[in-house]
């Protein structure tokens, strides 16, 4: 049976992961079980890749569980029981580590409302944040890459010095040939592996505090939605490279600051995946309706950082523009008045 549900041994209700205590807890009777001590059913059952079921039935009510092909944890749409789809979390699809949620749903809502109120350019109707359509706690699949790079750079640089002698100004340019060999290692570079998550949004959610990375255990998923990865580590390597190449170029430049100008004839970066771990990271996904448009925001489920493009009020943009311009103009006029002892009008 690939469907895993957590039933309270005391009262039989469904149990979910609780952020405050970090335990699997029962909302009916208050029982709290330490996750470390629960035997993980995934370690006992082994599901073959071909066994992946087309249809899952809720262990509580027997209804068909509605999911899409990438979901690995959800709740039954009929009875609300938290269910984990075991066969989507084993074998190649088994996450190595997980950062459990540390921001609860209530805290997430509160933090999001606060974030909306702080929006300096968002319309007033949006700032009240009263149209939150849905908030979902989602474990998003990420690859954490350890990347080793060997960088070889050939180029040329100049050092320019200007000095005066008599009636002449001399410009002396020394030409150099430059060679750099650099080893650059990056650890735990996160790249989101879910097709449905916006890459730009996920990049902005960083950083996650990796001290809280725990070994993966299925009870963490109880009560949340989880996705399995859509792309494997090889497929996402180009994105990881894009991300670190910016850093690498910055590092190369920092080694040639002694020169007035540098041009690189040849830059070779050899990137090797030293390690790629499949992990689940906590994200609150917030859907918001405002004036017939849908907005999606994401919140780092560990740090509470909110990202996402809010609507922009044209009136507020105009007001800020006029205000800032007027104040700068007045400041310059005051400065001028003080410097020349009068106005220039």
């Amino acid at each position: 049976m690939p469907v895993i549900a957590y039933k309270c041994p005391s009262c039989g209700s469904g149990m979910v992961f609780d952020v405050e205590t970090g335990t699997l807890s029962c909302h009916s009777c208050g029982r709290q079980d330490n996750i470390e001590h629960i035997s993980d059913p995934l370690t006992q059952h082994v599901f073959a890749e071909e066994d992946e079921a087309q249809e899952y039935h809720c262990t509580s009510c027997g209804a068909v569980i509605m999911t899409d092909a990438k979901t690995s944890a959800t709740s039954c749409s009929f009875c609300g029981s938290a269910v984990v789809l075991g066969d989507r979390l084993t074998g190649k699809l088994a996450p190595v580590k997980i950062i459990p949620f540390s921001v609860s749903k209530e805290q997430a809502m509160k933090a999001f409302r606060k974030w909306c109120r702080r929006g300096t350019l968002t319309p007033r109707g949006f700032m009240s944040a009263n149209r939150i359509k849905g908030i979902t706690g989602m474990y998003v699949p990420f690859w954490l890459y350890d990347l080793h790079n060997e960088v070889e750079v050939h180029g040329s640089g100049t050092k320019v010095s200007i000095y005066r002698s008599g009636e002449y100004e001399y410009t002396k340019t020394d030409y150099f040939q430059i060679y750099r060999k650099i080893g650059l290692n990056y650890t735990k570079v996160p790249i989101d592996a879910a097709e449905k998550m916006n890459d730009e949004l996920m990049d902005k959610l960083e950083p996650f505090a990796y001290e809280r990375l725990e070994s993966f255990k299925t009870p963490y998923l109880a009560g949340y939605v989880a996705e399995r990865y859509s792309y494997n580590d090889e497929e996402l390597l180009p994105r990881a490279k894009d991300k670190i190449y910016e850093y690498i170029n910055g590092y190369i430049n920092s080694t040639t600051t002694a020169y007035s100008s540098v041009s690189y004839a040849d830059v070779q970066i050899d990137t090797v995946i030293a390690r790629a771990d499949y992990v689940l990271l906590p994200v609150w996904v917030i859907h918001y309706d405002y004036k017939q448009s849908k907005y999606t925001f994401a919140m780092n489920g560990q740090t509470g950082k909110v990202v996402g493009k809010p609507p922009i009020s044209k009136a507020k943009v105009a007001a800020w523009f006029a205000g800032v311009s007027a104040i700068s103009f007045l400041a310059m006029q005051l400065l001028t008045f003080w410097m020349i002892g009068g106005t220039t009008w």
Binding site: E169, T171, T173, Y179, R180, K181, K204, A319, M339
Partner: protein
């Protein structure tokens, strides 16, 4: 509630529109007195141009409490233009506040094709040698070309404009121009608002340090080979404003003045 924001918009409008009326109001109060400030002995101006320029000189003179005077002479007896200017001041005793008072004089010697600018008292303080040099540089091309009316107008306006600046300040610094300041403030507003819009969706808060394993990263090998040197030389321009500039002096009547001399 949008009032708070419209307030800024209105403030901005008020500040910009204030510029124009103030300028007009200042101009109107002037042209009441109409004393002779232009002595066109060489007959360079038509009656119409003369009236226009004399009125302009009167108007601006009031604002600066300084007589803005133009003297043109054929100078057949070939007197030095500077001495002629000093002589004119001693003899005619011009001055806005009193005889031998605040005055700036432009003398045109049509014989030697030389001009001299002199500032007395308040004009000596506000129109020092350097500023008179600047005025001379601005009008000399027009004088050479024979556009006397245009040159005189520039002289009157520039002398008036420069007297609005505290002594010792460079009056041609573009920062002091209203339209430059307006441009800069609009630019600042634009940059700040663009940054605000850009940042409204959240920022990337990781950098190169975040994921770098500093312990195992670093330069393994480097080589910097000297190839050759290339040296160029350039003659340093002497900063002289061209022409002969005599600077100021003292008249035989004992009035000290600033001055700028040149040919056209």
């Amino acid at each position: 509630m949008n009032r708070k924001y419209t307030f800024f918009a209105v403030l901005f409008l008020i500040v910009t529109t204030l510029v124009a009326p103030l300028q007009l109001a200042a101009g109107e109060a002037a042209s009441i007195h109409n004393k002779q400030l232009i002595y066109d002995e060489a007959g360079l101006l038509s009656q119409e141009a003369y009236n226009e320029l004399n009125a302009l000189a009167n108007q601006y003179g009031v604002e600066n409490e300084t007589d803005i005077i133009i003297v043109t002479v054929n100078n057949e007896s070939a007197i030095d233009v500077k001495r002629m200017t000093q002589g004119f001041y001693d003899e005619h005793a011009p001055g806005y506040d009193k005889p031998h008072g605040n005055a700036v004089i432009l003398t045109l010697d049509m014989h030697a094709r030389e001009l001299y600018l002199a500032g007395f008292y308040k004009a000596k303080l506000y129109l020092d040698d350097k500023r008179l040099d600047r005025i001379r540089d601005q009008i000399a091309p027009d004088l050479t070309a024979g556009n006397y009316k245009q040159a005189f107008e520039t002289y009157i306006q520039t002398a008036h404009e420069y007297m609005g600046f505290k002594p010792g300040v460079n009056p041609d610094n573009p920062f002091y121009k209203v339209w430059v300041q307006l441009g800069i403030s609009v630019l600042i507003g634009g940059i700040i608002v663009t940054a605000m819009v850009y940042r409204s969706g959240g920022r990337v808060t990781v950098n190169a340090r975040t994921y770098e394993d500093a312990a195992s990263s670093g330069i393994i090998d480097n080589e910097d080979t000297y190839l050759h040197t290339n040296t160029t030389k350039r003659k340093i321009e002497k900063s002289s404003s061209g022409g002969s500039s005599g600077g100021g002096g003292t008249t035989s009547g004992g009035h000290s003045h600033s001055g700028s001399r040149g040919s056209f």
